[in-house]
């Protein structure tokens, strides 16, 4: 079965330029997103996951710049689109919601003014029609008494409500792709559950594709179809969600899964990854993960492995799975053996 690919990112490179130094925040990221599916981009701070998301809509702030690669959205390369074209896509065909609902809405305009604005820019709706559609949207995301809420200012709403408003605003023009950058990280867990449910529900209803940027493997397991694990500006493993959790191949993915304290199982001792997350302006030369990897050999420190298919389900960027592997041939990268 051939699926329709809505987004095809090839070798995306985004750098920040400061005082003659180029910091490669995103360093050759590629993935494909089929229509109606959700891909999770997982990683820790500095992995480049958020910069990848911002690059897609070209929302990078100075001194960030896309320096190479393609972002193909329905046959159009967004890296080459004009400012005008990208503005027509933003908030219309591709929408984005952000981590901080408390600061993502403009404090001096009402909820209604902010929603209407999107509808006016992309659909030319006037005030009356805009308000009507706005109320419908607020209802859609489960905001009680939407007619009252639409006249309120952001500070009159709770964090969860504000994130719902952000979602309503993002959905205003029925986007084909929603980019959610840590949409629930700043929210309490019971509110997180509400927001994830809304996103899932609306995705099904509108056949929307979603890019879910997160650091939380739990959120990935609950919402995603595919997962790209990022480390040091690169995708180190790409697979469907079941494979990632059941048969993770990259030592970093495995380490990440073993580090998570679970609320549903007892674990005596966590198996953390040693060392610290590398800083983007001081990346190791070979495999970015080598200094923290329990299996690293000289080859890992010297040369960067490529992202290769190791089974029908996984693509992994690791020397262990290549013919050139010079370490223990019997090495076994063990995933978590936990049952609930």
């Amino acid at each position: 079965m051939s699926e329709e690919i809505i987004l095809d990112i090839k070798d995306l490179r985004t750098s920040f330029f400061t005082e003659d130094v180029e910091v490669k925040a995103v360093d050759g990221v590629s993935f494909k997103l089929p229509k109606g599916k959700t891909i999770g981009i997982v990683g820790e701070s500095g992995s480049g996951k958020s910069i990848t998301a911002l690059s897609i809509l070209r929302l990078l702030e100075h001194p960030g710049k896309i320096v190479g690669g393609e972002i193909n959205f329905k046959d159009k390369d967004l890296t080459k689109a004009s400012d005008r074209e990208i503005r027509d896509i933003r908030g219309n065909e591709i929408s984005m919601i952000f981590q901080e609902p408390m600061t993502s809405l403009n404090p001096v305009y009402t909820v209604g003014q902010q929603i209407r604005e999107t509808l006016k820019v992309h659909q030319g709706l006037g005030k009356e029609q805009g308000t009507k559609k706005g109320v419908e949207l607020l209802e859609l995301v489960g905001i009680p008494s939407p007619k009252k809420r639409i006249t309120q200012y952001p500070h009159e709403l709770s964090g969860g409500m504000r994130q719902r408003v952000m979602i309503a605003m993002a959905l205003a023009c029925n986007p084909e792709l929603l980019i959610a950058d840590e949409p629930t990280t700043a929210l309490d867990v019971t509110i997180q559950a509400q927001i994830l449910e809304i996103i899932n529900d609306l995705q099904d209803r509108f056949d929307m594709s979603v890019i879910m940027i997160t650091h939380d493997m739990g959120v990935v397991a609950e919402t995603c179809d595919y997962v790209a694990v990022m480390y040091g500006g690169k995708v180190v493993e790409y697979a469907d969600v079941k494979t990632i959790f059941k048969e993770p191949k990259h030592p970093y993915t495995v380490g990440l899964l073993n580090s998570i304290p679970r609320h549903d199982v007892d674990v005596d001792e966590l198996e953390p990854i040693r060392g610290n997350v590398p800083s983007p302006n001081d990346m190791p030369k070979g495999c970015r993960f080598a200094p923290r990897c329990p299996f690293a050999t000289d080859l890992c420190y010297e040369e960067l492995p490529s992202l290769d298919k190791v089974s029908d389900d996984n693509q992994v960027r690791c020397w262990i799975y290549s013919e050139r592997w010079d370490g223990d041939p019997e090495v076994k990268v063990n995933g978590p053996e936990r049952t609930s």
Binding site: V189, A193, E197, M217, A221, R262, H263, E271, S340
Partner: protein
């Protein structure tokens, strides 16, 4: 095992006044903590969990006497901390230390690690002057840092390492109780696991007692012996870790546990999604504070404040504050979503 109570909190209340009106008089109160009691046994970890605004951090601050509570007593080693004078309390601080969430903000950026650690020892005068640097090096090694790092400044460390420095500072005065206020929340998962393991190791080595304030229930399950769940200024359930996670009694605890996304895509569980937001602690709901969001709420819940109680089917020490535990367990009451 009969254990010694190290800390006993009795009917703690912390109301913060809201000023307003013509002459800035007190028009209302934020009832941040409203009649909370619990005890911590020597050598154990008691976690206090809950969502923002539940009063867990305020409880921690009261124990450290960073705020002055409105009512209640806090007995530490049999002595009421709230009746101590400022000077007596300063001496007591040696026994009760704190580790904060933000390792960036809680260390003085102009002091080297050596200075940070020796200053802590100096204030409490626990180590003779000529031994302090030696002791500081020892502490660094205890928390997994190198002796060479002792003359560095906080900004030269990563987030996880800085939190280790914070832990070393707390250990410097050989405390009995450490209050960990969201101590690992700001850390990346891979580093968070290191710090959690370190805390466990230190607890074993030095027979430390932890009051662990957190919102992440995964972390709480990993680190705790017992857990208290708070909602809007009240403890709604308190129990041994295993009993609480595997046999939660209060509808709020159940919802909280079910709301956490599980990192296991093949085990998608039934989820209880609570309606609405947490109400304001300025004017909290009458009766059971959870009744506005509870799927089992009845008129009784709107009127009477439920007490923490232990029932036959619950393990010893497991107590929950809900009027309808029996009926919910027997299945006589059905949730009304």
């Amino acid at each position: 095992m009969a254990q010694k109570e190290l800390l006993k909190v009795n009917h703690l209340k912390q109301y913060f006044p809201i000023k307003g009106g013509f002459f800035g008089r007190t028009v209302n109160h934020v009832k941040a903590v409203d009649d909370v009691s619990f005890e911590i046994y020597e050598g154990e970890t008691l976690s206090v969990v809950g969502e923002s605004g539940c009063g867990k951090s305020t409880t921690g601050r009261a124990i450290l006497r960073l705020d002055d509570p409105t009512e209640g007593t806090i007995e530490f080693d049999g002595e009421d901390l709230l009746s101590l004078s400022k000077r007596e309390m300063r001496n007591r601080r040696k026994d009760i230390q704190v580790i904060f969430q933000d390792p960036y903000a809680s260390l003085n950026p102009r002091q080297t690690v050596a200075k940070i650690l020796t200053e802590a020892m100096e204030i409490q005068n626990v180590v003779p002057k000529n031994k302090r640097r030696e002791r500081a090096i020892e502490l660094l090694e205890t928390v997994g840092l190198n002796a060479e790092q002792i003359d560095r400044y906080p900004h030269e460390f990563s987030g996880g390492q800085r939190q280790r420095v914070g832990i070393a500072r707390a250990l410097a005065v050989e405390p009995k109780l450490i209050v960990c206020d969201e101590a690992v929340s700001a850390l990346d998962v891979s580093v968070q696991a290191q710090v959690l393991n370190l805390l466990k190791k230190l607890q074993r080595e030095f027979n430390l007692t932890f009051l662990f304030i957190a919102h992440d229930l995964g972390v709480v399950r990993h680190i705790s012996d017992r857990v208290a769940v708070m909602y809007l200024g009240k403890v709604v359930e308190i129990a041994d870790k295993k009993s609480l996670f595997e046999n939660p009694q209060h509808p709020y605890t159940k919802a909280l546990l079910s709301a956490i996304p599980t990192p296991d895509p093949e085990n998608k569980k039934e989820r209880i999604v609570l309606k609405g937001d947490v109400p304001s602690p300025i004017d909290p709901p009458t009766g059971c504070r959870f009744h506005t969001r509870c799927p089992f709420a009845t008129d009784l819940c709107k009127q009477d404040i439920p007490e923490l109680r232990n029932l036959d089917h619950m393990e010893e020490g497991h107590r929950a504050a809900c009027h309808h535990i029996e009926k919910i367990v027997s299945g006589d009451m059905k949730p009304n979503y």
